[in-house]
Amino acid sequence: MAIVACSTPPGRSGIAVVRLSGKSALGIVKTFVGGGSLKKTHLSPSLVELVDKKRRVFDQAVITQYLSPNSYTGEDLVEISCHGNPIIVSKIIDLCIEAGAEIAEPGEFTKKAFLNGKMDLSEAESVSSIIHAKSLAGVRSGIKNLKGALSGSVIKIKKSIISCVANLEFNLDISEEDLQPNIINTTLEEVKAQIVVLESLTESFKESQFFQEGASIVLAGPPNAGKSTLFNALINKKHSIVTKEEGTTRDVVEKNFLIKQLPIILKDTAGIRGGQSEAEKQGILKSKEEISSADLVIMFNQKPQKPLSKHLYVFNKSDINTTTDNYDIHISAKENKNISKLKDLIYKRLVGDFSLGEVLLTSKRQSRSVLAASEHLKMASVLLKNGDSLELVVEDLNCCIMELDKITNKTSRDDILESVFSSFCVGK
């Protein structure tokens, strides 16, 4: 198993270094390197293009390999030095995970180094304290107190699931009589309720993640609506070309900027219309892709019957036009009118009233656990609805508990039996 992590501090910097350690490291990197093939060589940096799953280039990077045993960890290790953009870093890590890597726990690189004999035994203590710090990961990010809040809510969810399992186990494992009436319905209700709670936790993670990795915003709408003008107004620089003609912007134009600490990656796109030339058609296709993958879409001068929650509807050119339609905001990109109000609105849409002080799921690892936990609950609810076997339901609920255990303390089989014994008169 290979592990991956960004080894430069989170946030924005010139260059970020992503490290990947393990036997399969090079194989994993190859899945997202475009063009020329990478040869397995110790310490000879090569400049490569990084491509996403659709083989589109998203960055250039320098790749350096350290072959086992001559690396920090003692295993094959690959360092990817990319541009210090949180979104790029996140993309690389995601691609690694998709290709089979796991996110490293804090201290795990060092731990491997030690286990592979790359460090002196006398360093054991310091290493183990690093490992130990895992549970205190919050300390470093300054959100120590919040750990309690997170495990508090996870413990609550777990408790409810454990009591569901206890209920089912009493029926499966102990009672020789028929199933308790209603057990399926009550379990289903409870499972559904917990899915909602888990999803709200994931939501809060997504928001906190925006702070770490940035949110993507796409400017979209008909040609000539003033998208590029707004783009330039927001970043406060003449970056995207503005003309009187329709169809000026053909390709996606990107730029990063901050709204109150919140990193934004802003994308200007081609105006959407019937499409004239082949090039414009291609551009429009790209616009649509961007829209679907964006965290937020700023839609110009188009207000549909059913507004989408991901869209912010902007009425531009309010200096020369008026409308009776109900837009989220009226601005003038050209005259810089209401731009800072728009920024507030964007911020609110992305992270709500959320402030860094409320970060609950602070790591990707935790959020993956929560996500997996809620997947298992969803599976369980499908089984319950289909009238499938209860032992399979229990299996999914147990998996959910196991995922949540990764965030809080381990649940043992005895905890479940304990819960059975305390709620039921067991035995003949």
């Binding site: 286990l115 592979n116 004999g117 054991a124 130990h132 289909n386 229990v394 039996l417 008169c425 003949k428």
Partner: protein, 628 residues
């Protein structure tokens, strides 16, 4: 005068643990002696007249594949047979037999004689130990028997004390002497023991019951045997009868709680929560208006009836008074009262996963003496201790079952890693790989060990191999054969399922919950070697493997993932005090339990993943252990 007899293995105790241990060791060609206090009680079922049941039925089948006798003897003495939990998931379907206790004992004793096992009546009071190695047993009266390995299976007998209300009787079981000496001896050489408690209900006279007031309960129409060796299984179907306690019963029990040994304020050893006395049930679950009592015959045409559900240590007159409040039992008479019994057990964390003592080589412990309760739990440990004692004298690699192999593996792993403070009983939910541990695939899971350790005769092995092969073929067929809409749509419509539009693989459709393998016209698997039960089991197994494939595969992945840790050995002399950065609590647990592998260490309650990481650091093991 000292008698000088020489055996390779001496098994102390002729209960279910001892019997399995002695018979398997003997079967493996090792000179074995069974010593028991009373020859006539060898094979006795102390408590209720039933074998199998939830989780236990699975264990009986496992013991059977490992060459044990419990299932086979139970089949021969069945009074009623039933598979429990049929309305629930298929991995928790559990076969159970009501048995004729007297017949079971007789068969067991005759079998021991027939196979030529030496049985000696006597009481063991101590062991001979040289250089931390067992070399003999001491008998009451001074005789000694020398041997290379000992299996202790003393059940509830060590310093046994019966409570009936305030009355106390020194006994190992009602009417049988207790045993004294072994606890004291083992304590003197440093092994630690504790006290546990269990209880049994009264036995009543058949003629004193108004049977018309009870609800009759028969066994299954198509009963299934517990043993693969049983070819024809046409057991009796004697009914049991259900009665119910009522408000008056509960009120009377609560009024007389002070007469109960357990509620009289005396401190007593801990009993099992899953097998509570009637006074516990009434006291702790006041909301339940009534509790079920099942009246079970103890043998054919028996005058003695077992009152399942009324385990108690109330005084005899109160027991009788309370029971007489139940409709139908107004004039009930006792053959003997219910009672609780306290006895010594040895903390099982002092054992290796082979059931051999960590401190004394060649000393094995099995059964209730290890803090378990139940015939099947005893027999499971007996078979393993017997196999491993014989391996010990033959200098062979011991047999260790993994948690994913068998309930027996779960049982032993739990015992050695948990500190019992109540008698341990198996539940299916104790097994994380429950879906894999079905009663219908015990052969598939364990036959390899039976072959390796020579536990079954060639004929049985061949038959089971054939059965396993047939199952695999059937699964393959279901996965590869397509079925046309016309062949199945009528059935689907009947079951309220969506019809299919194009041909589909059978396995695909079989995965839908309401469908069974019988809905498809599969050419049957008939073969000379297999009996009907085996053929049914093949169909059932194949169906299960298809229906559960997703879950079974996921569990398998999990098993493969943690396998490396099971192979990381922690040296016996590993110094936990050296590790500074783990909590004192974890360190203490490590020191007490002395896990043999990192896998075991991980399963100790309360040990955190970070403790394990640190342990790994100190073990200086490369992260990726090379797999053999």
């Amino acid at each position: 005068m000292k008698r000088k007899t020489n055996y390779a293995v001496v098994v102390v105790g002729g209960g279910h643990a001892g019997l399995e241990a002695a018979l398997i060791s003997h079967k493996r060609g090792v000179k074995t002696l069974l010593v028991s206090m009373d020859k006539k009680s060898v094979g006795r079922t102390s408590c209720n007249p039933a074998i199998g049941g939830l989780a236990k039925g699975q264990m009986v089948k496992e013991v059977d594949v490992l060459g044990g006798i419990m299932g086979f003897f139970a089949d021969m003495s069945t009074l009623q047979s039933k598979t429990l939990n049929m309305s629930k998931g298929r991995s928790v379907w559990s076969p159970r037999s009501q048995i004729d206790k007297k017949l079971y004992e007789k068969i067991a004793q005759q079998h021991a004689k027939a196979v030529g096992l030496d049985v000696f009546e006597g009481e063991v009071v101590g062991l001979n130990i040289k250089k931390n190695r067992v070399c003999g047993v001491k008998l009451k009266g001074g005789d000694e028997i020398s041997c290379n390995a000992v299996v202790l299976t003393c059940g509830t007998f060590l310093n046994g004390l019966i409570h009936i209300g305030k009355k106390q009787i020194h006994a190992g079981r009602y009417g049988e002497e207790r045993s004294k000496g072994i606890t004291e001896f083992l304590n003197s050489i440093g092994l630690t023991s504790g006290r546990l408690k269990t209880g049994t209900p009264p036995r009543i006279k058949k003629s004193s019951v108004n049977w018309g007031a009870g609800e009759e309960d028969f066994g299954d129409k198509n009963p299934k045997p517990l043993s693969y060796r049983t070819k024809n299984f046409k057991p009796k179907d004697e009914p049991c009868f259900s009665f119910r306690t009522k408000k008056e019963t509960h009120e009377m029990i609560l009024e007389n709680l002070h007469s109960s040994a357990m509620y009289s304020g005396k401190s007593m050893a801990k009993g099992p929560r899953y097998c509570p006395s009637i006074e516990d049930k009434v006291y702790k679950f006041k909301q339940n208006p009534s509790h079920l009592l099942q009246l079970e015959p103890e043998w054919t045409r028996s005058e003695q009836i077992y009152v399942n559900g009324f385990s108690t240590s109330l005084s005899e007159d109160v027991q009788l008074k309370c029971l007489q409040t139940v409709s139908g039992l107004e004039r009930v008479e006792f053959i003997r009262p219910g009672y609780a019994i306290e006895y010594d057990f040895f903390h099982p964390s002092q054992l290796k996963n082979t059931l051999e003592s960590k401190a004394i080589d060649g000393l094995f412990l099995a059964g209730q003496i290890n803090g378990t309760s139940g015939y099947e739990e005893a027999s499971s440990q007996g078979i393993i201790a017997g196999i491993n004692a014989s391996c010990f004298v033959l200098n062979e690699k011991p047999l260790v079952l993994k948690r994913e192999d068998a309930y027996i593996g779960v049982l032993i792993d739990d015992l050695i890693l948990k500190d019992t403070n109540e008698p341990y009983r198996m539940f299916t939910s104790r097994a994380e790989y429950r879906l894999q541990l079905r009663s219908s695939n015990a052969d598939q899971r364990l036959l390899k060990y039976a072959k390796e350790y020579n536990l079954l005769n060639d004929e049985t092995i061949e038959t089971l191999l054939h059965k396993i092969e047939k199952t695999e073929q059937l699964v393959k067929k279901l996965n590869e054969t397509s079925i046309k809409p016309v062949e199945i749509n009528e059935r689907l419509a009947f079951l309220g399922e969506n019809e299919i539009k194009e041909s589909q693989k059978i396995s695909n459709i079989l995965k839908r919950p309401p469908l069974t393998i019988k809905d498809f016209k599969i050419k049957n698997t008939r073969s000379k070697l297999l009996n009907n039960f085996m053929e049914d089991e093949i169909l059932f197994e194949a169906e299960t493997l298809i229906k559960y494939s997703g879950y079974i595969n996921r569990q398998q992945e999990e098993i493969d993932k943690i396998k490396v840790y099971e192979e990381m050995i922690i040296p016996n002399n590993f110094n936990y005090n050296e590790i500074k950065s783990i909590s004192n609590e974890s360190r203490e647990k490590f020191i007490n339990i002395k896990p043999q592998t990192v896998g075991q260490a991980q399963r100790i309650n309360g040990i955190r993943p970070s403790d394990i990481s640190i342990l790994l650091v100190y073990l200086r093991r490369p992260f990726h252990v090379k797999q053999k």
